[in-house]
């Protein structure tokens, strides 16, 4: 039901987070906290694996946009992979598929 994420570092100067469940107005604050903590802790690019992310809405997009701004200031980037069709559609209708780097 709720958004969960797990974060793990690897050696190539990039790091991964797995998003799970639902990111909406209820879970977005917790997601933001975890995302920011991960960004602070590390220096590489961020890879978000969304294979288990069932649902996201504009509240979640807002958190991601905020994170991307912080990353870009530090010349870092966010890569998003394995989006389910419904979540991918959210990125495409808002044009954010051109702002974030979406991987298959």
């Amino acid at each position: 039901m709720s958004s969960q994420s797990s974060h793990n570092k690897n050696d190539g100067g990039e790091f991964n987070m797995r998003l799970k469940g639902e990111i909406d107005i209820y879970t977005a604050a917790e997601f933001k906290k975890q995302l920011n903590a991960a960004i602070d802790e590390d220096l590489g690019d961020l890879h978000l694996d969304c294979s288990e992310l069932q649902y996201m809405d504009s509240t979640g997009l807002g958190v991601l946009i905020g994170a991307l701004k912080r990353m870009k200031e530090q010349d870092r980037n966010i890569y998003i992979s394995n989006l389910r069709p419904n979540v991918r559609k959210l990125f495409s209708i808002t044009g954010l598929d051109k702002i974030f780097i979406l991987e298959v």
Binding site: I25, Y55, S58, G62, I65, L68, N86, K89, L90, I99
Partner: protein, 150 residues
């Protein structure tokens, strides 16, 4: 006065429609209840899986707005009406806020993405018709329609 008792919905009820009403507290944890309810309603009406997802998302955006912008008091509630017709699902969300300043709606600007301002754009993109109505002292009513098999 409670929303359940007081709101006169602005949209005229079609007699061929079934009506379902859901009243929720203005708390983030209940938006998922609205999503579950509408997925049951839309699924049973015969919308395909992708469209059901679209309708869920559009409704969740409107609920999120009712919670974020549509409450003058700390503890409040908002009301969702579903009109279930043969060919069309109509959803009205009415809050107890101060109504909406239409100038607040703008297209998202990709050159300068903001953290907010996407909700109404998403609703308009996913639904077939969207209308806003502010009744005096009754907050905003946003009414959205989705047609079957279009």
């Amino acid at each position: 006065m409670s929303l359940v008792d007081s709101v006169q919905n602005a949209v005229v009820k079609n007699d061929c429609e079934d009506q379902v009403v859901l009243v929720l507290p203005n708390k983030p944890e209940y938006v998922s209840v609205a999503r579950l309810a509408v997925s049951g309603i839309a699924g049973r009406m015969g919308f395909d899986v992708e469209t059901v997802e679209d309708i869920k998302l559009a409704l969740a955006e409107a609920c999120t707005n009712a919670i974020k912008h549509g409450c003058c008091e700390e503890y409040s509630e908002y009301r969702i009406e579903f009109g279930i017709g043969q060919k069309c699902l109509t959803i009205s969300i009415t809050d107890k806020g101060c109504g909406m300043d239409k100038k607040a709606i703008c297209q998202p600007d990709l050159k300068n993405p903001r953290e907010g301002g996407l909700g109404i754009f998403i609703i308009s993109t996913l639904m077939d018709r969207v209308e806003f109505e502010t009744a005096p002292e009754a907050g905003l009513t946003i009414t959205m329609k989705k047609y079957l098999g279009v």
